[in-house]
């Protein structure tokens, strides 16, 4: 009996792949998009566009909300400043007016 390891080396000698193997692999590496049906291709593109538009709308909405908040804060600050100014003018221009409470009447 020949040495087992020698037999194994012979039994497991390398085998060449069948003819055209490289071409078949190369064919599979070409863009797969063309192999898909038209609806799958357009569906993928449409889904990509929808996702992009969705992200754009959300981004724009966020921008609009931030702008509104900024304007609101500005308006509130302006109003507060105006009110403070008016209050100051009232204090300096007019005497303190006290409204007398009628006797015997309860508020």
């Amino acid at each position: 009996m020949r040495e087992l390891e020698e037999e194994l080396r012979e039994a497991l000698a390398r085998i060449e792949p069948p003819g055209g193997f490289a071409e078949r692999v190369l064919a599979r590496t070409h863009p797969r998009v063309s192999a898909r049906p038209w609806y799958a291709r357009y569906g993928a593109v449409a889904a990509m566009i929808a996702v992009t538009c969705g992200l754009a709308v959300v981004g724009y909405q966020r921008h609009v909300d931030q702008e509104r908040a900024r304007k609101l804060v500005f308006a509130l600050n302006l109003t507060a400043a105006k009110l403070a100014s008016i209050q100051q003018r009232l204090k300096t221009a007019a005497p303190v007016v006290r409204i007398a409470q009628p006797q015997g009447e309860e508020l």
């Binding site: 009996m1 020949r2 087992l4 390891e5 037999e7 194994l8 080396r9 012979e10 039994a11 497991l12 000698a13 390398r14 085998i15 060449e16 792949p17 069948p18 193997f21 078949r24 692999v25 599979r28 590496t29």
Partner: protein
């Protein structure tokens, strides 16, 4: 190398080609991760063997070629007889998945146990023990036949 490992593992030309194609497509997608020629060879062996083991498990190839059903090889003219080699291939195909992978990497790819351990991501001692066990099974099977022939 890739087709050969797959073919010797699965003993099925169509499946071996399918696996080999998948491996090269994987390589095409992961070309950027290949660092050197040695790394490429290691990567190809690793991916091929893992795919073969997965496919072998899914298709339950072991049940297709049961060890006991394999025809015993004749050793009278072992130097020339291609049937001996074919019988040995069938015996290898009947080994458990990991043992089969180790035997193929050892005797087809001529890797030492440390290199096999690197490909399969297992300890070297595990490789050695599995290889020892696999050779034991193969040797026992062959010697049994030799004894039968001597008696006859």
């Amino acid at each position: 190398m890739v087709f050969s490992v797959a073919y010797n593992y699965l003993r099925n030309g169509a499946l071996a080609e399918e696996i080999a194609q998948d491996v090269f497509l994987d390589l095409f997608r992961n070309l950027g991760s290949v660092e050197s020629g040695a790394h490429l060879v290691w990567w190809l062996r690793r991916v091929t063997v893992n795919r073969c083991i997965d496919r072998g498990r899914k298709r339950a190839f072991r049940t297709e070629v049961a060890l006991e059903k394999v025809a015993e090889p004749s050793f009278e003219d072992a130097e020339q007889d291609p049937m001996v080699r074919e019988s040995l291939r069938k015996l290898i195909a009947a080994l458990p998945e990991r043992q089969r992978a180790i035997v193929i990497l050892r005797y087809q790819e001529d890797l030492d146990p440390a290199e096999i351990a690197g490909v399969l991501d297992v300890p070297v001692n595990t490789v050695k023990s599995r290889l020892h066990r696999a050779l034991g099974v193969l040797r026992e099977k062959l010697e049994r036949k030799q004894r039968q022939e001597a008696r006859a």
